[in-house]
Subunit: 229 residues, 2 copies
Amino acid sequence: MPSDAPTIKLENTRADGATVVPYNRADANRAAIADDLVEKIGATLVPPYDDPFVIAGQGTVGQEFAQQAAAIEIALDAFLAPCSGGGLIAGCALALSAANPATKIYSVEPTGFDDTAQSLTAGVRTQIDPSAPSICDALLLEIPGALTFPINKELLTGGLVVSDADAQRAMAVLFQEFKIVAEPSGATALAAVLDGRIDTRGKSIGVVVSGGNVDPAAFLRHIEAAISV
Amino acid sequence: MPSDAPTIKLENTRADGATVVPYNRADANRAAIADDLVEKIGATLVPPYDDPFVIAGQGTVGQEFAQQAAAIEIALDAFLAPCSGGGLIAGCALALSAANPATKIYSVEPTGFDDTAQSLTAGVRTQIDPSAPSICDALLLEIPGALTFPINKELLTGGLVVSDADAQRAMAVLFQEFKIVAEPSGATALAAVLDGRIDTRGKSIGVVVSGGNVDPAAFLRHIEAAISV
């Protein structure tokens, strides 16, 4: 886990019985650390996104959306989910496009970490070089997955990008209107909708809010930053 | 609306198009203010609890619990809901006892405002005289409803009481584990369970979390008070 991860994420993971190995984002490679651990202790690696079973598991979110939309007899016009390595949106896209090929599917990334958006435009996996950090600490990857990108290239309508302020505003709306606690990363897809990045009038839109690992003081800071604007 | 109501409650109500009439809890009678408004502007009064249709409407919460429990093939051993005038718990008790008479049903009130608990013990509606305020600002009544109490007397197993600190701890658990924003009043039923007021081991328990009208700074204050203990 990155050493700057929210304390709540660290503590909840430890409370579930895990031994957490912290690393510094700036000068360590998490894949290499994981490979080393697998070698040393005979562990099984569960990749965060670039694995068929992980993509399929994350896709159950899209499957549930499709089932719930069918249950209330609506066709989803669009669907948005936060995107880092691209596993969640790829899995959802597989499920949703099978249920209704007309649904427009969008990945949402934070400004500066829009590798999937850039890759979708370029048509090939594109490595980015972030110039500034983002409060969306779960979405700080620089290149799409080798397995996820081909799926996303085929099934996504496009990649949207939101600012930190957009994410904070969506967090405040989730707090005030929906009574849901979201971390900045988890609020990005709603941020894209609130900011009018896609046409929503008269449409049925599916939005994934995923990730509530945010410390109480940081949560207040984000909400108040949005409210004071 | 009491003039000490959370700002978020005031603003959200105004945003929905209402004209809000503030009053001081200490020296004004809200029922008299409402009657006066009804007279003046020809409005229709919707009582907060002492009305058959309001009780039935609030009871749809219990109805949904009964349906969802049946859908996953469990029988609810117990059910708890926050209690002020007693409409929510009375409506839920009607629905749940019809679905499964074995479910034990409990009202939950804040310390100092336990008029329903005292009335259930005494067997008659009992007026209390609160000696101290509570952070549970939506549950500050002093006598059960004339219509709600006979229902609750017949169908409730008992009335539970929780402290402000218990409510804050439940708010923190809802924030950290369930990612739900609850106001102190809304977290009281969960507080009673977390505090071990009823036997939960191996049981299926229904808990109502109702009310998320809490300002961001107050929310943080309650969560941090619970975490620092």
